[in-house]
Structure formats: structure tokens, C-alpha cells
């Protein structure tokens, strides 16, 4: 709806934005023309302008002398706490770094040794000279590369161990698959 067709009540609602300079030029002209002709809206505008002037009567205050000193003290205190926190985090990281990496290395060697020894436990070492290496390579093959710690890797590792053991068994005894996995591979 054009402001031309608006009554005083609607013009009055726009006066606040009008004195704030937030009305676009065409509408501003319409309001200005209306105010010139309408003494009620003119009066309302004058009240709003006086009210604005009255509001500006509140004096500005100046920051106290201790304001900046207080602020810099707060900043220094925050920086001190931040530094302390960072040091605490560093210490915690260092504290856990050695045991965690030691545990990782030990776990790796335990699994590796277990993989090497498991064919011996089943008496398959005498079949071929390269049997242990063949076994290890097979046991660790097809692991999830993106996340080496994924639980699926443990399942893959167990499956691979079983298959590798089964192949050792087959080559030693010249019998068929006993694990069920090798048959599926042949079918595929």
C-alpha cells in the first residue's frame, strides 16, 4: 500500500524511523509532504524530536583512572592462567606419551610373535622353509588401512590366521580345506 493512501495513524508509526533517517527517499518525501499539511502529525514529530533532545541530556561518563590498569591486570591474569593450562596439558601429554607408546610397541611385538609362533604350535613349520613369513604376511594382509585400530582388523586378523593355518594344513596333509573359508575363496 502506498503511503499516499495512509492515514495519520499510519504516518505516525513511520515518524520514529523518519527522524532516524531510516525511510527511503520516495517515502520520506510523502511523509514530509503530509507533515506540511497535517498539524497533528507535525505536532507528533515535534514531540519525538524534543524527546530525542531530552534523551541526549544524559551526560557521557569518562572511564575512571584505574579502568585500564584493572583491564590490563585481568588480561595478565588470563594470560598467566592460559600459560599454566598449556603447561599442564603439555605435562599430561608427556606423562602419557612414554607408557602409551611402550604399550603400543609391546602389543605389536606380542601379536607379531604370536603370529610367528602359532604355525609352530600346530606343527606346520617343517612343511616349507618360508612358512613362517608366508603365515605372517597372510595373517596381516587385507587389514583396514585407513584406521589400523578399527575392531574389524582384529576379526580380519583372526580370519586370515585361520585361513593361513588351513593352507598349511592342506599343504602338509594334501587334504582339503577344513576351515570353510578356503572353499569359499575357490568358489569366488
Amino acid at each position: 500500500m502506498s503511503l499516499n493512501r495512509l492515514n495519520c495513524e499510519k504516518i505516525k508509526r513511520k515518524l520514529s524511523a523518519y527522524i532516524d533517517g531510516e525511510i527511503n527517499i520516495p517515502k520520506k518525501d510523502i511523509i514530509s509532504n503530509h507533515i506540511e499539511k497535517c498539524h497533528i502529525c507535525k505536532g507528533e514529530l515535534s514531540v519525538l524530536i524534543k524527546q530525542n533532545d531530552l534523551l541526549r541530556e544524559i551526560k557521557n561518563i569518562e572511564p575512571s583512572l584505574g579502568f585500564r590498569t584493572g583491564l590490563w591486570e585481568k588480561i595478565k591474569e588470563w594470560e598467566r592462567l592460559k600459560q599454566e593450562n598449556e603447561e599442564a596439558i603439555k605435562k599430561t601429554r608427556l606423562k602419557w606419551l612414554l607408557p602409551v607408546s611402550a604399550f603400543g610397541v609391546i602389543a605389536f611385538f606380542v601379536i607379531f610373535a604370536f603370529t610367528l609362533l602359532i604355525p609352530l604350535a600346530y606343527g606346520f613349520s617343517s612343511v616349507k622353509k618360508h612358512e613362517p613369513i608366508y603365515f605372517v604376511v597372510n595373517a596381516f594382509s587385507s587389514l583396514h588401512q585407513k584406521n589400523i585400530l578399527a575392531p574389524i582388523n582384529l576379526i580380519n586378523y583372526c580370519n586370515n590366521c585361520c585361513k593361513a593355518l588351513c593352507k598349511c594344513y592342506q599343504s602338509k596333509t594334501n587334504k582339503g580345506c577344513i576351515c570353510g573359508g578356503c572353499e569359499n575363496e575357490h568358489k569366488n
Partner: protein
Amino acid sequence: MSIENQDVEIMIALKGGDATAFEKILKKYEKPIINYIYRFIGDRAEAEDITQEVFLRVYKSKDSYKPTAKFSTWLYKIATNLCIDYKRKINRDAIGYSGTELSNKLKDTTSSNPVESSLEREQLEEIIKISLSSLPENQRIALTLKVYENKSYQEISEILGCSVSAVESLIFRARQNLKEKLSFLKQ
């Protein structure tokens, strides 16, 4: 270089470890911010405390600062949020004044000397402060930002997180409310 770009440059310098950059921000904004908060809170000591908190937050976020919004808008937004939090915390927002309580308070302020053309400046200031503090929170913020900080409706809408038309409506209603509260001054 525009004023806004200057502010961004100063913040980037601060991020880069320039110790004088923060002093420049303080020099430019401490007075407007302290006055804005003072008009909202009405207590000088508290206003200074909150202003310190505003600048402390600016300092804290120097490393993560990204010039996505106008610097002054961001600064006023922090100040506004802290003021609102403070008012809610102390739970003595002047919005709680009933009509009678407010008129009694205004009467107390004006009773020592009847309202005349030569109304004492301090008395007048007190009346304006009481009237302003009796406005609903959002109306008071919008009006203060417009009248005292000369912010555009667009900037106020960004500070308050509402639309420009909502700001227009808030300021209109604030002025209507004030007109009623200050009407006795015309007598």
C-alpha cells in the same frame, strides 16, 4: 581506508602480536562502550567492570578473530549480551517496576522541586534514566543504540539478532512508552 577496515587491520595486527594494537582499540571504543553499558546498567562501577569484561573477551578472541561482521557491531553485541546476562543475574531489571512504582519513583525525584522550566539538570537526567530503565529490555537496547550510539537499524538488527522491521517496531514502541512516561514534563 574505511573506519571499518582500520578496525579489522588493528585486529589483524593484534593477532600478529602487535601490543600497541589493543591500545588503539581501547582508545577508540572504551568511552562509547562504557557509556553504552552505563546507560543500560545505571551503575558506574558495574559498567566499568562489564566494559573490562568486553575488552577482555576481545583480547581473548584475538587469535580466533575472523572479520565476518563489522567490528563495532561485534563489539556492541558482546557488550549487549553481557549487559543482558548481568541484568538477569541480579534480577532487578527495571522492567519489574509496576506503573504505580514507576510514577512514585518519578514523583520522588521531582517532589523536592516541582517541575518547572528550570528543572535541575541532574534531576532531569535521573528522570530520563528511570524512564529508560523502565522500558522492556529489547526496546531499551534498540533505543539506546539508535539515540546514543547512532547505529543504523541494520546494525541494531545484527546486534539484537532480529529483523530490521522488528527494530523499527521496537524503537517506535520505546518512543511511545517514553512519551507516556515523560508526558508530565510538559506540564
